[in-house]
Symmetry: C2
Subunit: 345 residues, 2 copies
Amino acid sequence: MRATFMYGAGDVRVEQTADAVIRQPTDAVVRIVRSCVCGSDLHPFGSMPAGTDGAAMGHEFIGVVEEIGSAVTNLVRGDFVISPFAYCDNTCDICKDGFQTACVNGGWYGLGDVGGAQAEAVRVPQASGTLVKVPAGVDEALYPSLLALSDVYLTGYHAAFMGKVQPGRTVTVIGDGAVGLSAVLSARQMGAEHIILMGRHTDRTDLGRTFGATHVVAERGEEGVAQVMELTGGQGSHIVLEAVGHLPAYEQAYGIVRAGGVISRVGVPQYEDAPVGFGSLFGKNVTLNGGPAPVRAYIEEVLPDVLEGRIDPGQVFDRTLTLDEVPAAYRAMADRDALKVQLIP
Amino acid sequence: MRATFMYGAGDVRVEQTADAVIRQPTDAVVRIVRSCVCGSDLHPFGSMPAGTDGAAMGHEFIGVVEEIGSAVTNLVRGDFVISPFAYCDNTCDICKDGFQTACVNGGWYGLGDVGGAQAEAVRVPQASGTLVKVPAGVDEALYPSLLALSDVYLTGYHAAFMGKVQPGRTVTVIGDGAVGLSAVLSARQMGAEHIILMGRHTDRTDLGRTFGATHVVAERGEEGVAQVMELTGGQGSHIVLEAVGHLPAYEQAYGIVRAGGVISRVGVPQYEDAPVGFGSLFGKNVTLNGGPAPVRAYIEEVLPDVLEGRIDPGQVFDRTLTLDEVPAAYRAMADRDALKVQLIP
């Protein structure tokens, strides 16, 4: 089968590789119907040292169950499924707490002997816990929004969930990428009163307004902080959803958060150390949370909103390419020429 | 009147100073009945550069209202009161959110033209919002526990509150100082199932056991982390209450917190930058919160527990000295000879 491997910064290739097969009784093999490129894939695409071992790429997909292991009892061949971007047993104590990305039997696509999803098919470990069935016969027009439940929309949703967005609250979203826009839509769904989107790409912030942003702030750094403080009557934002992952975005976050407020991060931090002392978080009693989104915890709850047309998170996909065009997909996203690219095998 | 001033590390003096007087219509003057030395006072006592301007010291007290400004309507001369360690109007939006230490009209004792409480009397700004009346005729034996509501007990309580301690949870408290022990007692009051106290001073951890600690871990660093991981079946602690404020304690905290858990800090951080990236907080979806305790939010709720004898947080005071003995009080606490010293003017 064909699958995507990255060999270094800017070097992503579609190659022939061994077919995905069942290895454990808890596995399934899923034939990919749609996958996509993630903002987080762009970090190694920008900085990965060149090497001879390719890294298997892709972790977001919808598809059809092709084979199941002997221990998989809740799926049959032919089931149409959504996969969270991390696999999990969905039964351990940590999963029960709603943090499936830290499942004791879980893991990540593309690591170890688990392949990536920018491919024709993929082996899914812990398939019973991981995969969520979608009713048969779904209109193909809904595929982008179903694919968005694999990662991007529910990553924005996780930010809003951890931020405890609720009616009457002011929410500021930092970042107008696909995750940031998904956070805007999630905040609207949770009833936020004011949603300030910090971003400077008008085509993206326009979609942000469609998703529910009430204000757009294009400035960054100190100027951006000053704008948000003015918009919030000098008090700052109850909740800040940080969907970038670079240190300046984090610094912006603690500059605009209200005393007693929450900074919820879903942009994968490209830093380890950052200010957390009296001058940043502590003095204002700010809560910092977020992490890799346990989207498995949210798929079933949000699926009816997609199937019944109440939300259309798939609008973040502004381009569709074939698997063979993966290199062009990465380039388009890295060049900010496309917001998020959907792949058809 | 006499009041305490610090002139540099190790140099604390009781001096004659101008009497506390009403300056604003919202002020009260309170004659101090009991005050004390705070663990946070020991930071400047250890490191303050020598200078000629003394810093007014002390921010925890109970006392009797001696004078009130014209705008103070809910207090009369002779009222016996507890003061939170920060003053506040208790009516602004931030106070209504329960974060009175960030009140828009609030501030700190000992700063600007507001005196300290290691004194015979003190001017209390925003007196109507700040001071909480205690019923007349309280037994003097309860004074230490009432004084503990001014800061130390409710700072531990804030840690537990922000950590969302609840029945069935495992809570680890880092630090066997008076705040750490108060956090143990608070966690027990909130129904924690297991309370692990990390501390190595047996006389203090013994009081910790009296307050509700179910386990004591004397080891620190990697060894301490390993012990807590073993005690929690390898999963870590749902909630970590950090009551020290030094970086190694914070590092210990993210080493032992369970995925999806909370690190709640009330030890004033003696650092600004610290790890918060994938390897520390983000990867495990850990929540970091805490800050200067808005004790004003909790006094009225907890007061009946003290008055009716259900809790005795005043046990953290293991020595009583007079105001004139303040230098000895600081030395005893800095030398860990006393846990917390109560002062009688």
